[in-house]
């Protein structure tokens, strides 16, 4: 029953429909905001050049103006952010009296900073880390990332006669490059191989297996005691297993096995080294582990490791710090190099992976690009690096940063293994960052393989096909590496 003249629901809807059409063009005003307007950014990201020779001060190589503020964003993950607020930032304000620092600690680097890079109001130093880390290559393409060549060539904080470049592990310089340019500071050094409980081995009188045959023999012994030989988490850290297989392939066939995969070389995934490695680890997991690990995440799996439910776990040297709170007295982390798969492995037993991570970069269009470089230079000072080691229990790329610091047993064993490995260092797989899609696909399929639903050949075929797709996809920017 409607009165004449009353607006019926239907009428109302129709009118809203009409108004929506009228509003239509106006909505264009709103619609432009996601991409931050149409002003094209000039991709010239020239790093702030060191001050001209006349006024060059080796104590202040970037001619930092203390009156300018500096904004620093730190990822508050496993390392927290007190190494920044309690150490690096006071060092900066002390070196440049009167300088003010705006500090932000966040777990959501991407959510927080992506809109700011679009609007142009960027911070100066970014610790691009964690699950929301941004695509640095894409940012660099927009001219947002400052080149670090000036930093590497600047006099070091402690000794002006020495360049910063000469105070750090050379691998870090290589791994901080994007398309051949120095773009990121990868601050932390980590060793990746297998981890085990040294105290358990001592107690049982077991020795580290050096070949796959010995590895399996130990697996049989452990099985008799109700312990699995090996496990990896199917959730949250399944790529630990992918690393494990890639690094073993590099041990078998040399670093070329990984470099070819990074460079998307045809059939790189189907190399003999890859095939041997995947076959060996597939056998280990299906015969000496348990499928239930495929449904556990990394923390659950690591807790089971602490309970001696299995012997070997593939990950990096941050493991000890990560599990410090849960670790019982009866457990002592130690690193075990990858067992030799063939008698003709390119690298001898003892080879481990050493790589750099925890990415920092300086922005090119911030309010204080000189200060950003200076902040990174301070991080690379002896004091800055040593303090980081003390606060986080992780090693930095700065040479001798752990001198005089008493390392926990796991880190100490990793440091020792690095010395023992000498030149036999396995390289990082860079496609993890370059072509994340391929990386994610490779570990997702690996879980299917380990679940017994695929053969090794099928696995390598599928991943190779995905690599071919990535290679053919013109929207994905390609990168290459020589070493």
């Amino acid at each position: 029953m409607s009165h004449p003249g009353e607006i019926t629901r239907r009428d109302l809807l129709r009118r809203i429909g009409l108004t929506a059409v009228v509003v239509g063009p106006g909505a264009g005003l709103l619609s432009a905001c996601a991409t931050g307007g149409g002003t094209a950014a000039s991709p010239s990201a020239s790093a702030p050049a060191p001050a001209t020779s006349a006024a060059f001060d080796p104590k202040n190589p970037f001619a930092v103006d203390a009156k300018k503020g500096l904004e620093v964003v730190i990822f508050t993950g496993g390392f927290k952010d007190d190494y920044a607020t309690g150490l690096h930032q006071p060092m900066y304000t002390k070196a440049h009296a009167g300088a003010t620092i705006k500090h932000t600690g966040t777990q959501n680097v991407g959510t927080m900073l992506r809109p700011r890079f679009l609007s142009g109001e960027v911070p100066d130093v970014v610790n691009n880390s964690g699950p929301e880390a941004m695509d640095v290559a894409a940012l660099a393409a927009e001219g947002h990332v400052a080149e670090l060549t000036a930093l590497w060539d600047a006099p070091s904080f402690d000794d002006p006669s020495k360049k910063v470049r000469d105070t750090v592990t050379p691998a870090a310089l290589e791994e901080g490059k994007l398309n051949g340019k120095d773009m990121t500071l990868n601050y932390v050094v980590s060793q990746r191989a297998l981890w085990y409980n040294a105290k358990l081995f001592q107690e049982k009188g077991w020795t580290l297996p050096t070949t796959m045959e010995e590895f399996k023999a130990l697996g049989d012994k452990a099985k008799a005691e109700g312990i699995h030989l090996f496990a990896y988490p199917g959730q949250k850290g399944p790529y630990y297993m992918l690393w494990n297989m890639l690094y073993t392939a590099a041990k078998i066939g040399g670093n070329k096995a990984i470099i070819d995969i990074d460079n998307l070389v045809d059939n790189a995934w189907k190399s003999d080294a890859m095939k041997a490695s995947v076959t060996a680890w597939h056998e280990i997991f299906t015969k000496y582990s348990d499928k239930s690990y495929l449904g556990l995440d990394h923390t659950q799996t690591q807790v089971k490791h602490l309970q001696n439910k299995f012997l070997f776990y593939p990950t990096g040297s941050w493991l000890e710090g990560e599990m410090a709170k849960d670790k019982p007295e009866t457990f002592e982390y130690a690193i075990a190099p990858f067992p030799s798969v063939t008698t003709a492995d390119a690298m001898p037993y003892g080879a481990i992976q050493v790589g750099s991570g925890e990415v920092f970069f300086a922005t090119a269009k911030g309010q204080n690009p000189q200060g950003a470089l200076e902040y990174l230079r301070i991080m690379l000072s002896k004091e800055g690096a040593k303090g980081f080691v003390e606060k986080t229990g992780s090693l930095t790329i700065v040479n001798g940063s752990a001198d005089g610091v008493e390392l926990p047993p796991g880190l100490a064993s990793a440091a020792k293994a690095t010395d023992a490995a000498g030149p036999n260092v396995i390289t990082s797989a860079r496609f993890e960052g370059w072509y994340k899609e391929l990386f994610d696909y490779a570990w997702a399929q690996q879980n299917i393989l380990m679940g017994g639903r695929m053969t090794v050949e099928e696995y390598l075929d599928k991943v190779q096909k995905k690599a071919d797709d990535v290679k053919a996809d013109s929207s994905i920017a390609k990168q290459t590496r020589d070493a």
Binding site: A27, E142, K291, S292, L294, R453
Partner: protein, 304 residues
């Protein structure tokens, strides 16, 4: 003057919600349509126009079809199970006790059951996810597998077995949704005049007949609304898939859904343009579903 007063009143009510809706819903939609025609990576100041390339690639993308298959299965199974369970439960809670004295009543203890059914609805989806993670945990610490393994069984990979994962996920979705529809249908049932039941009962109708001849036809509108809601929910599932399933959508993509893939594509792989194309596809899927459902189930209304 008369008209002005009337429209002024209506506009006064609508101006704020409509503005908010336009700014936060309509305009992002329009942007998504624009972005779906570009190869924007989320960082470029000026997105690159690529025409319909994203869509042609989308139709060849295995991941996209995986997600569609999940939506299809969830859409077929979940609303049916939820609506059937909710109907049975609410009938039992409200009318199942038969007529005693004046009017109809539920089975004994129905207030208690109401709380039990509704409880999952009160929990945030993330909590539901974490809770069921513990229940589905694949080793001896899992709630179900603990029992299974004590009884000497092999551990079951509830979320890690590709043949099982989707069904485990759907079970959780049903468990969580049923409570709300029990309440919805209870309200619908209490709106049915008691005389109808009494009259039918006098004529010798049993509970079975009461349910199918009176309750069900008179609940038709409520059921239809429930169907649309659940259907739209089947196109979402973002939070639960993200929290509960193996690495958001695994194993091997059997539990993946479009919203999860959109999120990954946009924010992990920095392919915002392509992700927007997926969003546009999802938009049309949801709209088509809602329109179809409303069309198919349209019927003359029964006046109570």
């Amino acid at each position: 003057m008369e008209r002005l007063r009337k429209y002024g009143f209506v506009i006064g009510f609508l101006i704020v919600p409509v503005t908010l809706y336009v700014v936060f819903v309509i305009s992002p939609y329009i942007q998504a349509f624009q972005l779906s025609l570009t190869s924007w990576n989320g960082y470029q100041a000026v997105p690159n126009f690529v025409g319909l390339e994203n869509f042609t690639r989308l139709f060849k993308d295995e991941v996209f079809w995986n997600a569609l298959r999940t939506h299809g299965i969830v859409l077929l199974v979940m609303p049916l199970v939820v609506l059937a369970l909710a109907l049975v439960f609410s009938f039992l809670l409200n009318l199942g006790g038969g007529s005693r004295g004046a009017g109809m009543r539920g089975v004994t203890g129905s207030t208690f059951y109401k709380v039990v059914f509704f409880a999952p609805q009160v929990l945030a989806v993330a909590i539901v996810g974490v809770l069921w993670k513990a229940i589905y945990r694949p080793d001896e610490a899992g709630v179900i597998n603990g029992v299974v393994m004590k009884l000497g069984g092999e551990p079951i990979g509830w979320m890690s077995d590709p043949d099982l994962a989707l069904w485990s996920l759907i079970a959780v979705m049903c468990w969580q949704a049923v409570g709300f529809y029990v309440v919805l249908f209870s309200a619908g049932m209490s709106a049915i005049p008691k005389d109808y039941f009494e009259a039918a009962a006098l004529d010798g109708a049993g509970r079975f007949t009461l349910f199918f001849r009176i309750t069900l036809p008179l609940l038709r509108d409520t059921l239809q609304v429930g169907w649309v809601y659940l259907g739209i929910a089947a196109f979402d599932c973002f939070a639960l898939v993200n929290v509960l399933t193996l690495d958001a959508g695994g194993p091997d993509g059997v539990t993946t859904v479009l919203p999860v893939e959109i999120f990954k594509t946009a924010f992990t792989y920095s392919k915002v343009g392509y992700a927007s194309a997926m969003g546009v596809a999802l938009f049309f899927l949801t709209i088509t579903f809602a329109v179809l459902t409303l069309r198919v189930t349209r019927r003359e209304k029964i006046e109570l």
